[in-house]
């Protein structure tokens, strides 16, 4: 079922790889540090994100679309590839788990207050496993349809909040120091670094050589949409209220109204968000399965998807029971882990490629 995904579709995949949880988690964190200068923090993080996309794109160009860990094994040694694979598998399992937990926490807080978390986890996981089994091409197609819906939701969001927006809430601009802005941009940068998922999607890309373009295009869209969401939330609530709201974007959506007959549309926006986070979770589960497949060199990962899913559910239920702990991890711990796996690993891959090429060249001279 896994056929190749085109460049535009892949760029759109990157958008929904980052955006769904970023819109939920980031505004409160960024506003905490940067207040009305939060859009500048997004700009800064987008700049770092583009750098990371350059590194990841270069790594994919080195592998030329070959399975990443297989390539590492060929260039270094199978033992190194296996060890790296185990670490990366742990990383992707953790990342998938946190996505699932953020998804479930959001539903629990906003939509299904009385439904047991375990039921939500299992249901979401089963649907996502079905998505992964349909293949990346099907996920990419659904993703492009979900992104098309922005054409409906973005204008609705803007026009529904026109009366509530106050541009003066964005003032004074440049009121925060570069240190504060950098601090505010650290967490969004970790989200932007999720572009590294391209390492595992590369075998399914029609043009892996265009991985940089795919990453950049995706990140530019993400930055634009994040800015849009954050600026509107700032103009509606102001920097002080945003800090108090757990989900400022959806709080703004709850006051969207068209005349007096269409109002309280937050559930509509939440429904749309549900679609996009399904896509995000499926992309990460796909990457997890792909990582497992490459690490353990199994031909078909189908029998193992359920087992990996079970691990994710168990970790989701028993490791991240506390929302505070998850928020703390997102705020402080995530950067290190993501820097390690999303920046250093692809950087290492580029270095490995240069090193082996140089070695071959030297041998060539010698001969």
């Amino acid at each position: 079922m896994n056929r190749k995904v085109g460049t535009t579709q892949a760029a759109m995949l990157i958008v929904n790889t980052i955006l769904p949880t970023a819109t939920v988690v980031l505004p409160a964190i960024i506003s905490n540090y940067a207040e009305q200068d939060a859009p500048l923090a997004i700009l800064l993080s987008a700049f770092f994100g583009l750098l990371i996309a350059y590194i990841v794109g270069s790594a994919v160009r080195c592998t030329n679309g070959a399975p990443f860990l297989t390539w590492v094994g060929e260039k270094s040694s199978p033992a190194i590839a296996a060890v790296l694979g185990l670490f990366m598998l742990q990383f992707y399992l953790d990342t998938s788990t946190t996505i699932l937990r953020e998804f479930v926490n959001f539903l629990k807080d906003n939509v299904l207050i009385n439904t047991p978390i375990s039921i939500l986890c299992v249901l979401i996981l089963l649907i996502t496993i079905y998505m992964v089994r349909q293949g990346l091409e099907a996920i990419a197609r659904v993703n492009s349809l979900v992104i098309l819906l922005y054409l409906l939701f973005v204008p609705l969001y803007i026009f529904g909040l026109t009366d509530e927006m106050n541009v003066h809430q964005l003032l004074p601009m440049f009121d925060h120091s570069l240190a504060e802005l950098t601090l505010a941009s650290i967490t969004p940068t970790t989200w932007m670094s999720e572009v590294a998922v391209l390492l595992f999607l590369a075998p399914y890309l029609q043009s892996p050589q265009k991985a940089r373009i795919i990453g950049w295009t995706g990140l530019i869209f993400v930055a634009m949409l994040m800015m849009f969401s954050l600026i509107i939330a700032l103009m509606v609530f102001g920097p002080d209220l945003i800090r108090l709201s757990a989900y400022p974007g959806f709080s703004a959506a709850s006051i969207v109204h068209l005349g007096r007959f269409i109002e309280k549309l937050d559930i509509l926006f939440i429904s749309y968000w549900v679609l996009s986070i399904y896509v995000k979770f499926s992309i990460f589960l796909f990457a997890t399965v792909e990582c497992f497949k490459q690490t353990f060199r199994v031909g078909s990962s189908r029998p193992f998807i359920g087992t990996l899913g079970l691990l994710i559910v168990l970790e989701c239920l028993y490791t991240w029971q506390s929302t505070e702990k998850l928020n703390l991890y997102n705020k402080e711990g995530r950067f290190l882990v993501f820097f390690l796996f999303n920046v250093l690993v692809p950087l290492g891959a580029v270095g490995l490629d240069r090193f082996t090429k140089a070695k071959t060249k030297r041998k060539g001279w010698g001969a």
Binding site: M1, G6, T8, Q9, L107, V111, L112, T115, L123, I124, I127, Y130, M131, Q134, G135, E137, A138, I139, A140, R141, V142, S144, L145, L148, R260, F261, I262, E263, K264, L265, I267, L268, I270, S271, V274, L275, Y278
Partner: protein, 526 residues
């Protein structure tokens, strides 16, 4: 069916359960041949076996076999019996059986379709197709003259796919009538008709119709492969073929269109689709079909593009209403009351005050009642069916509201859902939505809007993974090919549709010339 290469299913002899007899080569003895024939087809009253002995030459003995009702009696009498009886050369004492056979075949019979066969198995299918078999004493070969002519329904207006403007003729149960209707519309030497006989016992004629150079060779190869792989004893309607060859065996979505309109089939063939006409049913098939094909109606092209586009949008809206409205009503009234404006919420609460059932039970009750009425309307005698179903719906709806079993709002929801279902031009996809609607309702009652969105995601991913003979089911929307969207959600003017969509075809081909937008002569382009 003379003159057409007929392919028989190679698998049909594989099935031991069908106990296909070994081929019987014709015996020189006419008596033996007739005995074996009689043993094989039994003593049915409609089978006519007539022996004709030339008194003056005892060696030339003939027999005619035909099936009464499948042959045209006039053709048998004037085209077979009369010439044979009146030909003087056949009475000559010097004529041998072999010469007589050749003379009958090439000179005497004034019939276009005359075939030969040297086994009973080769001749029997022709007998069942309305041919008259001619067997001669002393020869191990038989002759079959096309005398077919049975009672057929005349060409009528399609019952399930009517249009206000456009051709009013529909396919009939006759395969040959169907192919001739297409020939009349597509007068091009590129039109190809391949015939198959499928079903060991029914030997149903199936015709594959396509335009050479326009239909994708890959798709054709796949359809041929799947048709040849069918191993069944009977094909009684096009759905038999559809279920055997369609992609995604367990999907609720149809991946093959059916139509009883020759103009719709001609349109599909011109777009690169392949038509499949089945003998014995007026419903022909079109493949490959994408999801969006099911929302296109022939009439879209027979009226102005603006009104066609508007109607397309109405159909897509009706699709979502038909699938989601009862589920949304349940979800909103059960879980998300805050979504409703206060006045509407108060009105709904007042209506539901005396209703003892939860929203799901209320909706199920009404939906099932409507489906019962609908089914009863189909089965009832034609004259009273529609009246009973309307009266039943009104009386039951009104009575149910007055009895306090359901709220008036629910009656409105169910009625609007049902009416929306009929807006969709394809009955196949409308029926799929009927089933999906029930699942949606249960999910909405359990998980609210989140459940609806989750199930929508399942449906979306399922559809995104579906293919119809290799063509992605959601194309050209997902994967998105913007220039092929001219005839999907809206229909652009015909002069702007210069290319055929590549999604169905192997290659993109030109349909018509460019720059055909009508303008006054000599108009300044600026």
């Amino acid at each position: 069916m003379p003159g057409n290469p007929q392919r028989t299913n190679p698998n049909k002899s594989d099935n031991a359960e069908q106990s296909v007899p070994a081929p019987f080569p014709l015996d020189p003895s006419l008596e033996v041949n007739l005995q074996v024939l009689s043993h094989r087809i039994g003593q049915s009253s409609d089978i006519v076996v007539r022996r004709f002995t030339n008194e003056s030459l005892s060696s030339l003995e003939l027999a005619f076999i035909y099936i009464d009702g499948l042959v045209n009696a006039d053709v048998v009498n004037q085209g077979v019996l009369q010439p044979l009886l009146e030909t003087v050369q056949l009475k000559s004492e010097f004529i041998s059986a072999t010469d007589a056979f050749q003379m009958i075949k090439t000179q005497i019979l004034p019939i276009g379709g005359v075939k030969e066969g040297n086994t009973l198995e080769a001749l029997l299918p022709m007998l069942f197709d309305g041919y008259t078999l001619i067997l001669l004493e002393g020869l191990q070969v038989g002759m079959a003259a096309d005398t077919s002519g049975w009672e057929k329904r005349s060409i009528n207006e399609p019952t399930s796919q009517g249009v206000i403007r456009g051709p009013k003729e529909g396919f009939t149960e006759s395969l040959r009538t169907g192919t001739s209707m297409l020939r009349r519309r597509l007068k091009t030497p590129d039109l190809r008709i391949e015939e198959y006989k499928i079903g060991q016992r029914t030997q149903t004629g199936v015709a594959l119709v396509y335009l050479e150079g326009i239909a994708s060779e890959q798709v054709l190869k796949e359809i041929r492969r799947r048709l040849n792989a069918i191993n069944t004893d009977s094909i009684l309607e096009s759905n038999y073929i559809e279920e055997f060859i369609q992609d995604g065996g367990l999907t609720p979505f149809p991946t093959i269109q059916n139509t009883e309109r020759p103009d719709a089939m001609a349109g599909g063939i011109l777009e690169g689709q392949v038509g499949i006409i089945i003998d014995g049913t007026p419903f022909a098939l079109l493949a490959p079909s994408t999801f969006f094909n099911f929302f296109q109606s022939s009439e879209d092209y027979y009226q102005r593009y603006d009104i066609s586009s508007f109607l397309r949008l109405i159909r897509y809206s009706a699709f979502f209403v038909s699938m989601l409205l009862p589920a949304l009503y349940i979800a909103v009234t059960t879980f998300h009351q805050e979504m409703l404006p206060t006045t509407l919420l108060i009105s709904l609460a007042a209506q539901r005050e005396g209703v003892p059932l939860p929203a799901l039970a209320e909706a199920l009750l009404m939906e099932l009642t409507f489906d019962v009425l609908r089914e009863a309307g189909v089965r009832m005698p034609r004259t009273i069916g529609p009246a009973i179903s309307i009266v039943g719906a009104l009386v039951l709806g009104q009575a149910a509201v007055q009895a306090g079993l359901v709220s008036a709002a629910m009656v409105i929801v169910v009625s609007f859902t049902a009416i929306s279902n009929f807006v969709i031009p394809s009955l196949a996809i409308a029926n799929s939505i009927r089933l999906i609607r029930f699942v949606m309702m249960f999910i909405a009652a359990t998980l609210g809007l989140f459940g609806i969105m989750s199930f929508l995601m399942v449906l979306l991913i399922h559809m995104a993974g579906l293919r119809s003979f290799g063509v992605p089911y959601l194309s050209p929307v997902a994967p998105m090919v913007p220039r092929y969207l001219k005839d999907i959600f809206i229909r652009v003017p015909l002069w702007d549709m210069t290319m055929r969509p590549k999604t169905i075809l192997g290659e993109e081909t030109r349909r018509q010339g460019e720059h055909q937008q009508p303008k006054p002569q000599g108009e300044d382009p600026v």
